[in-house]
Symmetry: C2
Subunit: 718 residues, 2 copies
């Protein structure tokens, strides 16, 4: 809900009038040349009014959008379909058919170009199967869970927050219908009384709950559900107390039945575990990024909303490793003037709307935390536009503290507006040093960057010096047990590492060293300690010495921070389908069109002969072969259907260009090239047309360029 | 084992001499102009001798191949590495690092071009998660299993057939070593006696068992193991009786804990389940193919051999649907003259070697069953050559009946020779109508092609005619129960389908109809039957009539056969790595080189300035940008290392071209272009060099073309 609740008393007409009035107020103030500060709150109010208006428009749009119409088209043309349909299907699993797969492949190819190639990232591929220990460390085993409840009688299962949402929304809608007289009694179950309208203040309370539902966990959630008397909607039965259900798919690796694994819920962990090799691959240079495209799995409690909430999905994730002290970005200048729709956390708290702002300003004002985060937000924006997302239906929303994932320190979502509302399609989180630190602790493997300092750092330290010449001979083969004891004097998280000790990087536990020093003093230079084998050994100040000194450190060691742009490809793909779909009013009947841009269109060119005359065959073959050689995917449609029907079928598949072969072709080797959206045509020789198509697909030219350069062909194909 | 046992008495030198002698024999016969039939057996013997010689060479090659050297290089350059290494790793799981991922992506892109684009296939993407019912039907739940045994004391687990193989091979090797005096007593465990040499005939018996191990199942396998006294090799302990272990990873879908699923063991089932939609997408035209690239999962009992036997792997699978009566292929002519190394089943039985043969002849002689299978074998061959597989290390081996998968009616494997021996990398199976028929039966969904016949088929049939006008009013709301009874008179696998009945496609059970007719006659035109509700109803000859008639059928309905080329990408990738690896003897030290062809090379061009002079920076940027715009992946190496070190690093990554920027560049804008294998260079302006690289990568020209056209540059970079 993005409502600005302060405007809830305005109906739509009143809101429109208020926007005009507020504009006048500002004009008046400006005419009086009052100070900026005095105008500012009025401008804020105008922005909020406009955003409320936009939100209402969006909501209307959502209601008017003929989703069933689009879904029918997508199923008919097999963009995607429920998996295992002939076995009754499994909710939350979808197969992509030929146009859907080609569309996804093209989006992935552009993604690789836009990120991996243009940003010189290191692409990797890690396994889906993941052992429990890794996901225990990452926090997923303990925290990657949703609350579920059961209908106490039927056993039907609901995701608790979704159930609360569904019940409250339905109560609000019913209330509204009763109040404006549109309530349909026929829809009531037999014998059920017409519900009472909500008591005063209840609607507002419900809306507040809906807004803050993410805050309710465990006992609080259960109390809330009891207070709101949430029941199973179909049966009216009570539901059980919410129980946490882990969303990972569990399996056993290997034949022993004792090695638990999961299907990864994100691709990120694989990057982190390979950090050392990746840094090495990048010749130890910072910053750098790894990238990965692959499946992830979430065992949703009750998946719905088509491709938006599924149990298996393709993600494209980037982990950009950056020095926490240098979060500026070398190419930030190239994006700083891009204006974006932002929805920062504080505006959400105030219930105010979004703002438009240049990224340079957003970082300067601290709205976006740093250049690196800002750079990636802009690159995400440019990518989404590049594949055809409508920029007026795209915003970047900052996560509120209560919705942040357990590993994130800041997060902005690219949200795309579709008939389902504003949907998170790309997350851009600053995971800080969370994961690398956690894996490092769990495995005792240092996941750090070591950097030569231009100027050594000078600092006071307490260290333990071990006199090898005395120590070794004194303990002989037991030396390792005594060394083990000395290891317990290191600071938390440190390991015994001679090389690092020499560089002064090792941190000791000063208090423990002081205690040892005191013991040695008390024992006149000797004390008894317990080795790691459990035996007692006598340690003397000839062997070890606690030293306070000033050290010069030439090496800086740090755990990099990670900025993670994470793309849900299925969500992006579905949103794109909504954005490019429209209906062309035709002479005979309305036609579906999917206006993919040439770079993402599943098939680039349709090749069709005007009739089944055999003279056309060599031309079909030669055009198809030459486009194929150029890597341009085509379809030949030489079926008996009318040319209009064949065009129409390809509009539904979103094929941007059609090459028609007619009797003129046989005479002079020219063909017509038709563009899907404008229906404009040109007529040129085959070589020219294939070259034009290749350049259009490779985004070197646009259709406008073609129209400007070549004469429109308005004749009929012959 | 590809030994031609008849030659086992020849040592290597004798074999070589025998090949010369046999060649002379044939020349002599030809000089005498004897008939072809008389020469033929001598030619066969020569071929067998040569194949034995090749096999011995291959075996030597295998022993000499420095696998540890290659694996060290691949790990160092992070082509791939054990997954979860910092957690101790999980056997059978590997992550691909940047060069490995790029290599795999390039192979996949070529695969899409070679198959999906050039053959107009329908690419789809189906889910990994698969409900149990589907895999029950496909046979995997019951039959996709290996036998495993445990060490009775330590509990260590072995795959039974691998254990037998390991033990017998070790006995044979030991025997050989004892006999030729190379047995190393130091390698024996303490107190263990030197083993006796094998008794006469034992070695031959072991080799026969090894050859036919696939034949032993269940009890037979157990008896064999007991007879051979197979023990756990390290401990010498007894092992348990073999138990079947299903190789699929099991999980639960959804929160109920009652919906069992598996990770798919192959991508094929998803194709079959979508058959109806795919046929529709292809506008009901046959034949056609679907293609899919994705992960598959097999819970191997004890994975080993690096990338060759893993638990999670990428497959590329094609399902080509073909009319069982028309297995010719329209483009067979384009491949018929390709000569391949074939290893047909009968030659394997005879213990004879492979043969070289043109595919046209192989199909004509019935060695390869049909044109479609032959066409795909050739396309697989061309693909493997295209990515750089050495054709002398590639053969196509026909499956023997005992090793055929449960669904296959014929199968040829593309086997690639590596240090692990001949490894199956692509299967090309004729799955006949197995899967579509099985899913059809399980779901009652017809997975068939319906084809209008040019000439109607006339045939005699027995059918049941239902007189609706009498039937309906007689039974009213009970009509469906009586109809249910009539449904039981249909032939096995038929469903009640009015549309198909009208077309005469429905098959009745003639015997049941005759029985009903007899009952009606016996009851003077009426009989009592049991409806599907369990109640009795009286049926009369006014309502139904058994009719024998001659029908004209205009529609042919058939379940297509499926030819399945199935690629294991990890195995292909590893084999390729072995084939392209070599050592360049250098001035100072030997250097690793991976000679990828430009199309598959992970990075296409290295850009390097001769020193860190700032004057070079604009050139680096402009070359990198222009190659990037063309989609050519590059790496800049401006590190301080010597130019030789930097070349060397990129030889190890298999980067085929290097562009060097020097002071001449600053003067006249020319750069040198170095080719990795020949070390030859040319010097041209930047635009020319970037164009040349693009054309090389797109396989439009070869390096030989470049050398022919441009002057070699032999000067030193300045």
């Amino acid at each position: 809900m993005t409502d600005n609740s302060q405007f809830s008393t305005f109906d739509d007409a009143a809101l429109a009038a208020e926007i005009v009035r507020q504009g006048d107020v500002i004009k008046g103030l400006k005419a009086q040349k009052v100070s900026k500060d005095q105008v500012a709150p009025h401008v804020e109010r105008l922005k909020a009014l406009k955003s409320e208006n936009e939100a209402r428009m969006a909501k209307k749009n959502e209601k008017q959008f003929d989703r069933a119409g689009l879904e029918g088209l997508l199923l008919k043309r097999f963009f995607y379909a429920p998996s295992f349909a002939i076995y009754g299907g499994v909710t939350g699993l979808f197969d992509y058919g030929p146009p859907g797969t080609a569309l996804q492949n093209n989006i992935i190819n552009l993604w690789r170009k836009h990120f991996v190639l243009e940003e010189d990232m290191l692409e990797i591929e890690c396994t889906n199967l993941t052992p429990e220990a890794v996901l225990k460390t990452s926090g997923h085993v303990d925290r990657f869970a949703d609350y579920m409840v059961r209908d106490v009688k039927t056993g039907e299962i609901f995701r608790a927050d979704h159930l609360v949402k569904q019940v409250l929304n339905s109560r609000v809608d019913t209330d509204l219908a009763i109040k404006n007289g549109s309530f349909d009694k026929k829809k009531l179950a037999k014998g059920k009384p017409v519900p009472e309208p909500l008591a005063a203040g209840m609607r507002e309370e419900y809306e507040m709950v809906l807004e803050s539902l993410d805050n309710y966990q465990g006992d609080d959630l259960w109390k809330l559900m009891q207070k709101l008397e949430i029941k199973a909607p179909e049966t009216g039965n009570d539901v059980t107390e919410p129980k946490l259900f882990n969303l990972m798919f569990e399996t056993q690796i290997g034949p022993t039945g004792q090695f638990k694994g999961y299907l990864r819920p994100e691709t990120a962990q694989g990057h982190f575990l390979n950090f050392k090799r990746l840094l090495e691959s990048n010749q130890d240079q910072m910053p750098f990024a790894s990238a990965s495209i692959g499946k992830s799995f979430r065992n949703e409690i009750s998946p719905r909303q088509g491709l938006l909430r599924v149990r298996e999905f393709t993600m494209a994730e980037i982990e950009h490793y950056v020095d926490p002290l240098k979060k500026d970005h070398p190419r930030f200048d190239s994006v700083k003037d891009i204006e974006l729709t932002l929805y920062p956390g504080d505006l959400q708290l105030k219930g105010a709307g979004t703002i438009k702002m240049k990224m340079g300003d957003a970082v300067a004002k601290g709205i976006v935390n740093n250049q690196t985060l800002g750079y990636f937000i802009c690159r995400i924006y440019l990518f989404l536009l590049r594949i055809g997302i409508n920029p007026t239906k795209l915003r970047f929303r900052q996560h509120m503290a209560n919705e942040m994932a357990h590993y994130a320190s800041d997060c902005w979502d690219a949200e795309i507006l579709s008939s389902y509302g504003w949907i998170e399609c790309v997350g851009c989180a600053d995971r800080s040093a969370y994961d690398l630190t956690a894996h490092s602790k769990a495995t005792k493997e240092k996941l750090v960057v070591r950097e030569s300092l231009p100027e050594p750092i000078v600092r006071d330290v307490v260290i333990l010096e071990v006199k090898k010449a005395v120590f070794g001979p004194a303990f002989k083969s037991n030396a390792k047990h005594v060394m083990g004891y000395l290891g317990t004097l290191l600071a938390d998280g440190e390991e015994w590492d001679e090389a690092r000790m020499k560089e002064g990087l090792t941190q000791w536990d000063a208090a423990k060293l002081k205690a040892l020093e005191a013991q040695l003093k008390a024992g006149n230079g000797s004390t008894t300690i317990t080795g790691t084998d459990g035996n007692k050994y006598v340690l003397t100040d000839k062997m070890v010495q606690v030293v306070e000194k000033t050290e010069k450190i030439h090496i800086r060691e740090y755990v990099p921070n990670v900025v993670e742009p994470s793309f849900g490809l299925g969500r992006i793909l579905y949103s794109l389908l909504e954005h490019v779909w429209w209906i062309r009013e035709g002479d005979d009947e309305a036609r579906n069109v999917l206006s993919f841009n040439p770079a993402v269109a599943p098939t680039k060119a349709l090749i069709l002969p005007i009739s089944s005359n055999e003279q056309f065959n060599p031309f079909i073959k030669s055009i198809a072969d030459s486009l194929r050689r150029e890597g341009v995917s085509t379809r030949v449609d030489d079926s008996a259907a009318s040319i209009g029907k064949r065009y129409s079928r390809n509009d539904e598949l979103g094929t941007p260009f059609a090459i028609t072969i007619d009797f003129q072709t046989v005479k002079d080797g020219t063909v017509t090239l038709r563009e899907r959206d404008s229906l404009k045509q040109i007529r040129e020789d085959i070589a020219t047309v294939t070259r034009i198509i290749k350049e259009l697909v490779e985004e070197r030219i646009s259709w406008a360029d073609v129209e400007a350069k070549y004469t429109a062909f308005t004749g009929q194909e012959v």
